[in-house]
């Protein structure tokens, strides 16, 4: 198929359909409203179902129901809407159900602004619901990558029976770039023989959340964490950019990583040996990238559209909090190339 020019939000909708998703439940909010709008017209054409729920809370619980019935199901929102969905995300996680949740982040906290942000890192990567859990979190930096990652997200969700969160900033949803759609399943996935599809003559299936016995709940949680350990081993994903001779490394994800790449071009022209570690998944965090490069990197320059929510993960990954310098903008401001160059030069000094 030839490339088409599409907005990130619409491209994600198309990617979901290509990956076999037939159910969407959501509620409009800027900057992701084009995604439900697109699916409201496109899902019925492929025999799917689009429901604009009365609120984000009901939408995420419709996702819970559809996932329990074995459907490939999607919901999307932006920061304050995702905050409302947290309870449901915890329930879906606890019930070991697959689902894909898109968060086109905007400035916060509270209702915040509608401009792009990355300040839902804590809520999404550390978990905004109650209890011991993790969700896989993928972080696209282009419209094409959003497409590829959404397709992969459905496979990851089904394979590990976990919710997967696509964490992008509003700019990824709003901008247009050329995209292609090639869905190649990551695994040959088995039938969902656990799904609630009406007992008939078959065996009884249950999707449960309440565990009365604490010992039993602990066993349940430990079973989840065995899956998480496997995900941490198998699914770390990152890009290494101009690190071969680098003495310094930016750490950035999403739109910011692209602005950082422009900054790297300028800095390298002036002789600075600097590259980038770009996490493509935020959980599991790419520990292996840091293990690989830490020996030659003097300092990590963490740049985000937040007040530094990823810093702790970078500190843990490189095991030296003194090696980290942070620069961030907040509230919906996208940093410019120039300010990142100035920040980097201040850290590197005359250290070319």
């Amino acid at each position: 198929m030839a490339k088409v020019l599409m907005k990130g939000n619409e491209a994600i909708g198309k990617a979901a359909i290509e990956a076999g998703c037939r159910y969407f439940f959501g509620y409009p909010i800027t900057p992701q409203s084009e995604l439900p709008e697109y699916l409201s017209s496109e899902l019925p054409k492929v025999g799917g179902m689009f429901v604009q729920a009365e609120s984000e809370v009901s939408a995420i619980n419709m996702v819970y129901g559809a996932a329990a019935a074995g459907a490939r199901v999607l919901t999307s929102s932006s920061s304050p809407g995702i905050a409302l969905k947290q309870e449901g995300i915890g329930y879906i996680t606890n019930a070991s159900l697959p689902a894909v949740i898109v968060n086109m982040m905007r400035g916060g906290p509270g209702l915040g602004t509608i401009q792009p942000g990355q300040a839902d890192y804590h809520m999404t990567v550390k978990g905004g619901s109650n209890g011991d859990y993790q969700n896989i979190v993928v972080a696209p930096a282009s419209v094409q990558e959003a497409v590829d990652m959404v397709m992969e997200a459905f496979d990851l969700a089904d394979h590990y029976r976990v919710p997967v969160i696509v964490l992008a900033d509003g700019l990824i949803g709003q901008m247009m770039e050329p995209v292609e759609f090639h869905y190649v399943p990551k695994w040959d996935l088995p039938e969902k023989d656990w799904a609630l599809r009406g007992k008939g003559d078959g065996e009884k299936h249950m999707v449960e959340n309440l565990v009365m016995e604490a010992r039993e709940c602990e066993e349940w949680n430990l079973a989840h964490y065995r899956v998480y350990r496997k995900i941490e081993e198998q699914e770390q994903d990152w890009e290494e950019y101009k690190l071969e001779d680098a003495e310094y490394a930016f750490v950035a994800y999403g739109t910011v990583s692209r602005i950082v790449k422009s900054a790297i071009s300028q800095l390298r022209e002036e002789g600075y040996k600097i590259g980038l570690i770009r996490p493509k998944k935020l959980w599991p965090f790419p520990q292996k990238a840091f293990d690989r490069w830490d020996g030659q990197i003097k300092k990590y320059l963490d740049v985000e559209m937040s007040m530094g929510q990823m810093v702790q993960d970078v500190a843990y990954a490189c095991n030296d909090k003194h090696k980290i310098e942070f620069y961030g903008r907040t509230g919906g401001i996208v940093p410019g190339v120039e300010e990142i160059v100035v920040f980097a030069k201040k850290i590197m000094g005359g250290d070319k």
Binding site: Q115, L171, Q174, M176, E177, R258, I259, V260
Partner: protein, 185 residues
């Protein structure tokens, strides 16, 4: 050319975003790397709207233009005032001279003042195609893409029921192209 940055700006409803989209589409059809990045705030009809288009032979870093734009298309006065400093030295400003005037000096002397509303009104009886007239002037003065690619982009963007709009769009494009050619002949 390795990278060209173009900023299109105007009132909401003037077609600044569509202008940028057709330019981006044409560049994509030529196999270039492209990004189209809209301003999205509380924009509405009558408010300001702009988009940043980047066309490159390489993967595009920041999709947001802060400086060194090869071209600014200013469809009204607030857009010209707000964005004229992001133009690169020797860049091109294409302005809709019916709604915007340059006061004082600009960073470039390559200025194309196109009375696009008047031209559209005269040719089509409405100002709707003023944006495509300006696009014609941009392709003539800055390049970025070939005329044939724009025509192919029209065919892709105006598919199906919208096909009837293609002839007028081509005509508007040609009007702007010819005008710009005459300006700096």
């Amino acid at each position: 050319m390795s990278t060209q940055k173009i900023c299109c700006a105007g009132f909401g409803g003037q077609g600044a975003l569509s202008l940028g989209k057709i330019l981006a589409y044409a560049a994509m059809l030529e196999g270039k790397e492209v990004s189209w990045c809209p301003s999205y705030g509380p924009e509405m009809r009558g408010g300001t709207a702009n988009c940043h288009v980047i066309v490159s032979d390489e993967a595009i870093g920041s999709p947001v233009i802060a400086e060194n734009a090869a071209c600014l298309i200013a469809m009204n006065q607030p857009s010209l005032d707000k964005f004229q400093d992001i133009i690169a030295d020797g860049g091109v400003i294409v302005l809709n001279s019916d709604l915007a005037q340059l006061h004082g000096s600009a960073k470039t002397d390559k200025i194309y003042a196109v009375p696009a509303n008047t031209m559209a009104q005269n040719a089509f009886g409405s100002a709707k195609l003023a944006n495509i007239i300006l696009l014609g002037a941009v392709v003539q003065s800055v390049g970025v893409v070939r005329t044939e690619s724009i025509e192919e982009a029209f065919a892709q963007v105006f598919g199906g029921a919208k096909e009837k709009f293609i002839p007028d769009n081509k005509k508007a494009f040609a009007l702007g192209y010819t005008f710009a050619k005459g300006e700096h002949a």
